[in-house]
Symmetry: C2
Subunit: 349 residues, 2 copies
């Protein structure tokens, strides 16, 4: 089959790799119908860490089950499935606690599982899915082309935006600011409104993303950053700032923005992978009673509730995709996202 | 009147100071019936910061209203009142949000208020209380001697322990570990049980405090610290650690203990004044989905609900007092707490 390999900074290629097969009784093999490029894929693409040898990349996929092992109970060949960005057994105490990303047998697309068996990455034609029962969620029916992008967001960005909002305690009547206008930040706007937020301020300097944020329910847009941005948000919200700030970037600047913006006693939900960000200033948190929560989103647990709203049309997160590429052209998708000419690229094998 | 002054490291003295008077229409003057020495008083006592000139000290008091200004509505002469460790107007947006410690007009015992008028500290015979309506809470009746210590804890340590538990999301069925066996940690045990925790592990190496913790409802005691302590707590709790860790010390070691002990997806409620502690490790929090919340406790808002339970006898936090001193002997109280021969000293003017 064909799959994407990262060879080095700025160098992704589609190459022939071995076809995945069922190796264990709990495995499934899934034909990838759609995958995408994640903002977090750009870190290795930009050379954040050296690439010793070409490696598989991609962690977002939806597709059709081709084959299952003898012990698989909840999915069967022909099912359309959503795969979250991490694999889990679904039965351990952490999965039962809703922290699927801390599963005792957690595995990651593109890395060996805990048996040492390689797991395919998502940017390819097929994947072997260990722990298929724990990992995969079957959709109500096969989505049509119009629904497909929305379903695809359930693998990562919609669940991650939801996790930011949940971690920040967003609920009916909340006032919220969202730091970051990438796909996760935009999904966080959807999530905040879905959970009942009354005011959602999207912090964005890009006209197209501002418009999309408003379409997703943002009540206000603030283009300034830093202290000026925080002051503008405060002005909009009783002079004190929002109850919740959703930090959807992961840089030093974005966390500083969140800390400068949230009101005393408020909560920051952070879901951007910390990229060289500073440690959190404990004395400032103490003095202001600001809570910081979040982390790598356990999206597996959120898929069922969010899928219901995707299927009903109540939320339309797939609008974050503003570029579609064939798998063979995935290098163009990376380049476009790297240049920020595309917010989120959908890729079709 | 007589009041306590800190002259320098290890040097507290009771001296004559001017009698407080009503200066503003929102003031009250309160005769102090009981005060105490706080763990946080030991930081300046130990010379954490240089003392340029003798300064008043103490921030916990209950007493009887002597006189009120013309605008005071909710307290009147003869009322017995509880004063939280910070003063607030009770009407600003932060007070309405329950973050009384961030009141727009916040003031602190022993420091000038926002009008620049000096406010007495608590370790003396009388105090002027600006913003009396916002700050003071009238008790159902004058407490007898037996009830007095329990009521006195509402000024700080009981409310602070409660804040740790609330900030960590403790509720029915929670599993909890408490780091710190000082008065706040012991009150946090009470608070956790009161909020419905099923298991409360007190981390303590002191026999008397272990016993008190058990009396307050701790189901388990762990004497080890560091990784060994964390492992022991995990062993007690399904091998994964508690849902909530209440960090009631404020040192580098105690926060590290909390981080090492909490389960993935769990919450740390921290209320110890950070004393040179490290910044919080954002990447570790991200990877484990651990939430950190808390801070300087807005105890004013907690007094009514906690007072109801003190009055009914449902909670008996005053048992943390294991030494009573006359005001003239307050230097002995400091020395005893500094030497850890007394957990919490009650002081009678």
């Amino acid at each position: 089959m064909r799959a994407t390999l990262l060879h080095g900074p700025g160098d992704v290629r589609v190459e022939q790799v071995p076809d995945p097969q069922v190796r264990r009784a709990h495995d499934a093999v899934v034909r990838v119908v759609a995958t995408c490029v994640c903002g977090s894929d750009l870190w290795p693409y930009r050379g954040a860490r050296p690439v010793d040898e070409p490696r598989r990349i991609g962690h977002e996929l939806v597709g059709v089950v081709e084959e299952v092992g003898a012990d698989v109970r909840t999915v069967r060949p022909g099912d359309f499935v959503v795969a979250p960005f991490s694999l889990c057994d679904g039965t351990c105490v952490h999965c039962r606690n809703g922290v699927h990303t801390s599963c005792e047998r957690v595995a990651w697309w593109g890395s060996p599982d805990q048996d040492g068996e390689p797991v395919d990455a998502a940017q390819g034609e097929y994947v072997r899915v260990p722990m298929a029962d724990g990992t995969l969620v079957v959709t109500p029916e096969h989505p049509d082309e119009a629904l497909l992008p929305h379903v695809l967001t359930l693998t990562d960005v919609m669940g991650t935006g939801h996790h930011a909002a949940r971690s920040a305690g967003v609920g009916p009547g909340s006032t919220v600011a969202v730091v970051g206008d990438g796909a996760v930040g935009l999904c966080a706007v959807i999530a905040a409104r879905r959970l009942g937020a009354e005011r959602v301020v999207a912090m964005s300097r890009h006209a197209a993303r501002q418009e999309l944020a408003r379409g997703f329910g943002a009540t206000d847009v603030v283009a300034e950053r830093g202290d000026e941005g925080a002051a503008h948000v405060r002005d909009l919200l009783d002079g004190i700032g929002p109850d919740a700030v959703l930090e959807c970037v992961g840089t030093k600047e974005s966390m500083a923005q969140a800390l400068a913006t949230v009101r005393p006693g408020g909560r920051i939900g952070f879901v951007g992978v910390p990229a060289g960000g500073p440690e959190l200033p404990v004395r400032q948190l103490f003095d202001t009673n600001v809570t910081v929560g979040g982390g790598i989103a356990p999206v597996r647990g959120y898929i069922p509730e969010l899928m219901a709203d995707v299927w009903s049309g109540a939320i339309r997160p797939g609008l974050v995709f503003d570029g579609t590429f064939a798998l063979d052209d995935i290098a163009d998708a990376y380049a476009a996202m790297d240049a920020r000419t595309v917010t989120k690229a959908l890729v079709r094998p």
